[in-house]
Point group: C3
Chain length 349, copies 3
């Protein structure tokens, strides 16, 4: 097991799920999802309870789906509505496993673990993705690696210098010390650059040149999101670590979902609080970000292949990896943790 | 094990086997077969007894084959006829395993189990494929699924409504009750439609319109054949389940051979007792049937992938699956059955 | 285990290794090699000690390589020279496993076993590849088979008749008896053809027609080289098995390196002592030899697939295989042999 079983994972972008069925394997479970006519989303195991043909190959009828093999009709609640022979009485014990889904922060989230524990309050708070005054867009890449390698990558931005040497890499980033902090199931890696020259992108965002305070704050949110608070404020505007909404600010959004032990779904994007009414900016930024993240995909897939080819070797952690190490400890703890509700029942006994 | 070991399986169409070697894996065994100059067929393990190069890569010399690696020459009986060095004395213990083969009903049959039990009388009686007054032709598809999924498919024709919605599917078929009957190692699923309108194909075959009696009788013959008796007779002609040779009649022929646990060889065709002297009809029908059966191939391969992806789930059987369930019981029984001859030897002791 | 662990294997042609990193898996170990500015070759495990990204994806800086993920810089000795953050103190225990390499006979050799045993004196003596008065060139093929199948192939040239029927095969070769001889870890298979007509190639090499003495002497040198001494001398020139440098002579060179249990690296070529100053001859011969050896690759990969598909069958040995059988015994013995140095230590205790 490489992932936390009882947790919310992103099934897809809100825009990926519509009335047509979407098939995606989540934590090893084949899932099919679709949007009902009331726009709510349902998700269930992608196998007809009769002969296991993927329901995603079926024919949508209203909010239900009819299996394309023998015509068993399954409702949005996963329960049979019509048997293969229409006149046969419906056996309502014929059903497929359904999963809790929630739509939040522009993503559809799914819980494939113990459904009784699926508390929507546990969904990672990706507020910049869904707060008025912020613009958010992004993309999706399948990636052939353990999702934790993507987290390691994001919790240590020094990789930008080499992996993104041709795009966003800047040696200066490595010269500023970082501070790592754990708060509950969150990990923060903070780099605060006081009184530096604004790089071109941020000058453009700030619409002025000159000295700025600049920050990069990587935040891991269990089970598998990393959001990176980035931006600049004019020198003297009084921006602080605790309060830095005085300049231009963005969040690099990264949410990974395990597909198998060695493959993942990678959802990425950028939320920003400047030029939010410029869809051209949004589209151009998404294109650029997509190109940069493909550089990561190439590296991470090569890393996974090398891990597989060198089974006796272990990943090592140096100073720069402190954030990643803290994250791994949290994931390891949550993977083995007895679910809260089970604990309370035992206590009651 | 997914198949009956001691049984006849189709190795290929009679037209597929000629003097050039044909390589095909049957029940996990690599086999090479060819036709001798007297047109009889021989089959043996497709590996030179010397260094295991596939004999099917070899050079035919008369009825023998010479390995293309070192030139060991193997006769049609599987025994060495010449060593790699021609002047070396032939060691007749050098041989490759041969298999019993029989040519019948337009197919070449092979027995890869215990050869002592290979009684030709056990070959499934596909008489419509080889009886004067009947025309027969068909094709071959490799299919990436357990052969039993193909049998399930054929023993329940309600799938036609959905899988073949664009071709032969008709909702009316599902409205007529079926009757399932077991006779020894055979299973029959019968649908008798008395006094219905003849569908276009059958009107054309019968050369008249009007009411007809129509039938569909699926018959499973162990180890893995399904033949479907289909046709119509004019209303009042007196056709009965026991005697319905008064109108136009055909047999859909399906014979499956396990290749591995999850891949199979699918031989299919149509035998008919009308317009038998019209090769254009034969060719057009084969084209049409091939297209319809490709629709099954797509579904069955997706079903196999879903079975593999959902290891905890089981196939379920409803009313329509009674025929398939009965077949599975027969296959399960025959898979574990002690071979008859072995039993008699033990009795003699 | 299919190979001798403590032995020198060819990593590549001398011309394949240059300042740019070369990645190649040797006996299951991912290796990266490059040439230093002084032209000497270094080889190490192809995984950054930090996060295991293949070092072969890195950036060369002088004789060192910088990992393209976080910029850890590794020296030619495998030891860290710079941490990902340049200002961090270098931890010299951060290192990657290095391997002994030697350049000899136009090949770069590597020892991935116990380094303390890597004595350069154990490198197979392929003297015709590196002796003045001889010209040598050749090529490289990856091949999907156990390297021992290539050795079997080369120790029995009767396969030429069938595998190379369209190129160099000649039935006459099989009519001359061979003699097999073991000397230590070497095996010789000798075919001496006294007073035969010179075939066209050798007439051209000798620059005269008429009767010749002709020889083919296959020599296996552990762990996995086969060199074949071939040539002709004019009848009456007094050529003998012990002394046959009076006519024209060549060595077919074959050196195989295990990549995995069922895939190998195949290095091949031809050394000759005639027309050594004709690079056109060298190039034409290499082209021709490459074509002939591709015929072997096709056969050997089919043999490996057949071995895998027929797990109950064993390779058999006839008279012609005596050379190969002797080789296998030597390999089997050396695979299990206690390394010499370990033995002496134990004796000391």
């Amino acid at each position: 097991m490489t992932h936390i079983r009882n947790a919310w994972y992103v099934l897809g972008w809100d825009s990926e799920v519509d009335t047509a069925p979407l098939a995606r394997t989540i934590c090893g479970v084949p899932v099919v999802a679709w949007r009902k006519l009331d726009r709510s989303v349902v998700a269930m195991r992608d196998a007809c309870p009769h002969r296991l043909l993927p329901l995603s190959m079926g024919i949508k009828e209203g909010d239900s789906i009819r299996c394309r093999y023998h015509g068993l009709k399954i409702g949005a609640d996963g329960v049979a509505e019509e048997m293969p022979i229409k006149t046969d009485p419906v056996n309502r014990r014929v059903c497929t496993e359904t999963f809790a889904v929630e739509e939040r922060h522009r993503f559809v989230w799914i819980w494939v673990g113990d459904r009784a524990l699926a508390d929507p309050a546990l969904i990672p708070d990706l507020w910049p993705c869904s707060t008025p005054g912020w613009a958010f867009d992004g993309g999706y890449y399948p990636i052939k690696c353990d999702y934790r390698l993507v987290i390691d990558n994001l919790m240590d931005l020094t990789h930008e210098t080499y992996v993104h040497a041709g795009s966003i890499g800047q040696p200066e980033l490595m010269e500023t010390p970082i501070e790592t902090r754990v708060e509950g199931d969150k990990v923060f890696v903070t780099r605060w650059m006081a009184g530096v020259d604004a790089p071109p992108f941020w000058s453009m965002a700030l619409k002025q040149t000159g000295k700025v305070d600049r920050w990069q704050i990587c935040e891991f949110i269990a089970p598998s999101a990393v959001i990176i608070d980035v931006g600049v404020a004019p020198l003297g505007a009084g921006a602080t670590l605790a309060d830095h909404d005085r300049g231009v600010r963005g969040f690099v959004i990264d949410v990974m979902t395990p597909e198998t032990e060695t493959t993942s779904h990678y959802f990425w994007g950028m939320a920003r609080n400047f030029q939010t009414d410029d869809p051209g900016f949004t589209a151009r930024f998404k294109n650029g970000q997509g190109g940069v993240f493909l550089e990561d995909v190439e590296i991470l897939e090569a890393q996974q292949r090398s891990i597989d080819a060198n089974p006796a070797l272990k990943l090592r952690a140096y100073n720069i990896d402190e954030g990643g190490v803290r994250v791994r400890r949290i994931i390891d703890r949550l993977m083995t943790q007895v679910p809260a509700k089970t604990t309370s029942v035992e206590t009651a006994l």
